[in-house]
């Protein structure tokens, strides 16, 4: 059995090395530039595709690809840094999420456009294929090659960081950017270099993985989350952390897969959550790490409160009357499906804004509450009472304490770590529908009551065919009641729930509770020092937010007639963040507008082009660069233009002088 373990360790180190190459770039880029680069996975994929192109062309080959592809991707990386990332320096890292999310869509669609959706094959040269025998064990040559090349690159990077002038400047820059600029060093040039270097490492990772895992457009998606986990686990900005984290995650993941298969898909996240709870800054992170940068929350705008209220009432009235045009001006599908989706996502975005725009908590795991709300609502309808209202209420009621617990555990870590720990929790929950049997086997102990076991969730197939009713236990069924023009009564239920939730959120914001949240948004330390328990307020906001997200999920599940695992997929968290930022954080209606704009643009692009995702990505990128305060800031900008205000540029409010205490 020793040989089996050695082999598994070797397997773990192989994939671990790939993680190291990916995470090193991510981590250094973050450490120096504060950029959270979600597009790193696409640079990884681009490395494999460029490699494929070079390897299959006449006179090319694998070794040529190993040289050319990283250089080509480095150029792409440098261009990305120069033209999209640079305008964002000094802003909160949150903006990079939106930006790089857009870049992901652009790069992925670009790859599909050039190389098509079919997976490509890239074979390794004979010299590194097959196996080799040593010390009584058999090793695949390719694993040794990957480990070797990874080790050489990691050592080289370490030497470059520690023993060259460039490395010195970069390390100094990651600790104190201003100091470096005071020394008269053109740090921008270094940024481009660092970004390009990170991109090249990612490209090498993609290329060396290609002969084993193939080359396909989804390959970036599959590595980006583990790579982030490695970075966070090791400590943001720490090269040592990336190495230890990468190898550790690779080995633990591989060995556990063999010995504790039930933890498949969970172990990485459990590891990360565990480490962050003990060491909130990751294994080798800087404990004094603080995020800098300005967060542009939208404010006021040109409309008076009264005018804004009139507009709001008008929008709701239009939505309420919209069914009258159904079947004449547009098909009922528009309302039953698209409008309902927009409304529930508006609510979801509103719930996220409650913590992101007001409490400054960027939750990448908000889909957890959305999904749990949806699953619970459906399960209540299936197994308990079929009532729409009761099922939604139970969904919310479960999400509230769940949010409290997850808030309690997560809010102790800050910034990006918070985003990642919530993502970790969400990914754990996302595995539940696929692991009901295994979980129930664990719960099948005599001292636990049988009702504690999970009901069947049917994995990816989801739970469909529910028959909810409007009454408490009976009455008209949801699918059967239509109001006018083929529009379901459910449309009004959703509309009422969303408008009601908005009014509730507004009320909370006008009360002392909300005023404190706004204070925290403006100046967290100040809020603490006038006597508010900031952590407790954040947690309470998180609870309210979790409840609203659960309601959004429940409503969407009722509209879809069931629920499936996509309700728990992390990408939905990304989508809702994008919508919130599109609309404008820190206002309650902005994110709701953002949801409408998101689906509206998608609906418009869908029939126009197959590359709609890429177009959407380009829009995000332009948006985050030019309209950082979101859609709600556009009227003020326009007004400023017409009033002869500051022409050109964006309505970026004059950044506060650093609002932070520095040492004496």
């Amino acid at each position: 059995m020793a040989s089996a373990l050695v082999e598994q360790l070797l397997n773990g180190l192989t994939i671990g090395m790939v993680y190291v190459l990916l995470a090193a770039g991510l981590s250094v880029v973050f450490g120096v530039m504060d950029v959270i680069n979600f597009a790193h996975g696409e640079l990884f994929a681009l490395g494999a595709y460029f490699g494929y192109a070079v390897a299959t062309v006449d006179g090319g080959g694998f070794w040529a690809a190993l040289v050319v592809a990283p250089l080509a991707v480095a150029v792409v990386g440098a261009a990305i840094e120069r033209y999209t990332v640079r305008p964002l320096y000094g802003r909160n890292p949150l903006y990079h999420i939106l930006l790089t999310f857009g870049l992901v869509l652009v790069l992925k669609d670009g790859i599909e456009l050039v190389w098509g959706p079919r997976p490509k094959e890239l074979s390794a040269p004979a010299v590194i294929s097959g196996t080799v025998e040593a010390f009584g064990f058999t090793y695949p040559r390719y694993s040794l090659f990957v480990i070797g090349i990874g080790a050489v690159l990691a050592a080289g990077t370490w030497l470059a960081l520690n023993h060259t002038r460039y490395g010195l400047v970069i390390r100094a820059g990651s600790m104190d950017r201003e100091m470096v600029t005071y020394l008269g060093i053109d740090i921008d040039r270094y940024y481009t270099l660092v970004f390009a270097f990170g991109a090249a490492l990612a490209a090498i990772a993609g290329l060396v993985l290609a002969p084993r895992n193939g080359v396909d457009p989804g390959m970036g998606d599959s590595v980006i989350i583990p790579a982030f986990v490695v970075v966070v686990l090791g400590g943001l900005g720490s090269f040592r952390g990336a190495v230890v984290g990468g190898l550790g995650v690779g080995v633990v993941q591989t060995v556990m897969r063999s010995y504790v298969p039930v933890l498949e898909g969970l172990v990485v996240f459990l590891l990360m959550i565990g480490v962050l709870l003990v060491r909130p800054q990751g294994l080798f992170g800087d404990p004094e790490f603080e995020e800098a940068g300005d967060l542009f929350t939208a404010s006021g705008g040109v409309l008076t409160d009264a005018r804004r209220r009139q507009l709001g009432v008008a929008v709701v009235a239009l939505l309420a009357l919209a069914p009258l045009g159904s079947g004449v001006l547009y098909s009922p599908f528009l309302l039953n499906s698209l409008f309902v989706t927009v409304l529930t996502w508006a609510l979801f975005a509103l719930s996220l804004d409650f913590v992101m725009g007001y409490a400054g908590l960027v939750s990448l795991g908000h889909v957890l509450f959305y999904g749990v709300g949806a699953y619970v609502t459906v399960l209540v309808v299936m197994h308990a009472v079929p009532s729409v209202v009761l099922a939604l209420l139970v969904g919310v009621a479960i999400c509230l304490p769940l949010a409290w617990v997850i808030g309690q555990l997560s809010i102790r870590v800050a910034g990006v770590y918070f985003a990642m720990i919530t993502l970790g929790f969400a990914e754990l929950f996302a595995q539940i529908p696929n692991k009901v049997t295994q979980i129930n086997a664990l719960l099948a102990t005599p001292w636990l009551p049988t009702w504690l076991r999970l009901p069947a969730l049917r994995g990816n197939r989801g739970l469909f065919g529910i028959d909810p009713v409007y009454g408490l236990t009976g009455g008209p069924g949801v699918g059967a009641v239509q109001v006018v023009g083929g529009v379901d009564l459910l449309y009004y239920v959703v509309l009422a729930a969303v408008v009601g939730s908005y009014l509730l959120a507004r009320r909370l914001m006008q009360a002392p509770f909300g005023s404190v949240l706004q204070g925290i948004r403006e100046a967290e330390q100040r809020a603490e020092f006038v006597g508010y328990d900031v952590t407790a307020y954040k947690r309470r906001a998180f609870v309210v937010s979790g409840g609203l997200a659960g309601l959004a999920g429940g409503l969407q599940a009722l509209a879809d007639g069931g629920v499936s695992t996509s309700y728990l997929a992390w990408i939905q968290s990304g989508k809702v963040i994008v919508m919130t930022m599109l609309g404008g954080m820190g206002t309650l209606y902005g994110p709701m507008l953002g949801a409408g704009a998101f689906f509206g643009v998608k609906e418009f692009l869908l029939p126009v082009t197959e590359q709609w995702q890429g177009v959407l990505g380009v829009l995000f990128v332009l948006f985050v660069i030019f309209v950082p305060e979101g859609l709600v800031s556009i009227p003020a900008t326009v007004q400023a233009r017409f009033a002869g205000g500051p022409s050109g540029g964006t309505p970026v409010e004059e950044p506060d002088p650093v609002d932070r205490e520095v040492g004496d």
Partner: protein, 268 residues
């Protein structure tokens, strides 16, 4: 502030035996670096105490330890007769400790009135039912509003109450911060370089304001302006490399040879 409840017993006249703040053997290490080294302070009620020392002497770190931003490696902090070493900053604020920062820290996007109102609201935090707290509009809490207006009058910002704090001039923002501190109704106020970056006139005006509105409170002051320190303080504590070099009346400290050597004569 006449309307203020006597929440923290601020009217009690202390004696020298009844220090409002006492630190015992405070030590703070960051790895190898000892930022604060065995600092013991006793600050009687009503005293104006200044902490001076060269850059890197550990003054702000000491403030962080007293207010709970940092946990001490060793030692304890006693405030108003109770050990507060393990309490979070907001809990110390609730007991009557307040602080301003070296770099002005106000709620920039909110109005001047809302800045002060938030502080006044915190001071009355105990008096609200959860339902009121969550759902009742802030505009209907008459007492809190009255507190806020009174503070705005005292710091002379009433006519700018509707402006966003971020748009105020630097001096006005300093005054607003003093207003925020005042609105929390503290017994002890820690001011970290309240006149940093100010002109002579502004400095004089600010200190006059501090003397006026915070006269009945205990003050702990970090200050670089030695003349000012010697002028306004009851007692002065000199820190050097984390530990107390000297402590006494302004005259005693000014005459101290060690202080002369290390600080007054040295760097100035």
């Amino acid at each position: 502030m006449a309307a203020d409840a006597d929440a923290h017993g601020s009217t009690t006249i202390g004696t020298a035996d009844d220090p409002v703040l006492e630190t015992r053997g405070l030590v703070k290490r960051f790895g190898e670096l000892v930022a604060v080294d065995d600092v013991s302070l006793r600050i009687p009620r009503g005293e104006v105490r200044s902490v001076i020392g060269p850059n890197g002497a550990g003054k702000t770190t000491l403030f962080d330890l007293i207010t709970g931003v940092l946990a001490p490696t060793e030692g304890s902090v006693r405030f108003a007769g109770a050990d507060v070493t393990g309490l979070a900053p907001h809990e110390r604020v609730a007991r009557g400790m307040s602080r301003s920062f070296q770099l002005t820290d106000v709620f920039g996007g909110l109005t001047v009135r809302e800045n002060v109102r938030l502080a006044a609201q915190a001071a009355r935090d105990d008096g609200f039912s959860p339902a009121d707290w969550l759902l009742r509009p802030t505009g209907s809490f008459v007492d809190v509003l009255a507190d806020a207006e009174a503070v705005l009058e005292r710091v002379d910002l009433a006519d700018r109450a509707g402006e966003r704090a971020a748009t105020l001039a630097y001096g006005d923002r300093r005054r607003l911060e003093i207003g925020i501190v005042l609105a929390t109704d503290p017994d002890l106020v820690l001011l970290d370089e309240p006149t940093a970056g100010m002109s002579r006139e502004e400095t004089a005006a600010t200190m006059a304001l501090v003397g006026d509105v915070l006269a009945d409170r205990t003050l702990l002051l970090i200050e670089h302006d030695v003349d000012l320190v010697l002028d306004v303080s009851d007692r002065v504590t000199v820190l050097d490399r984390g530990s107390v070099l000297a402590s006494g009346t302004p005259a005693e400290v000014a005459a101290d040879d060690d202080v002369q050597a290390a600080y007054l004569g040295g760097s100035r």
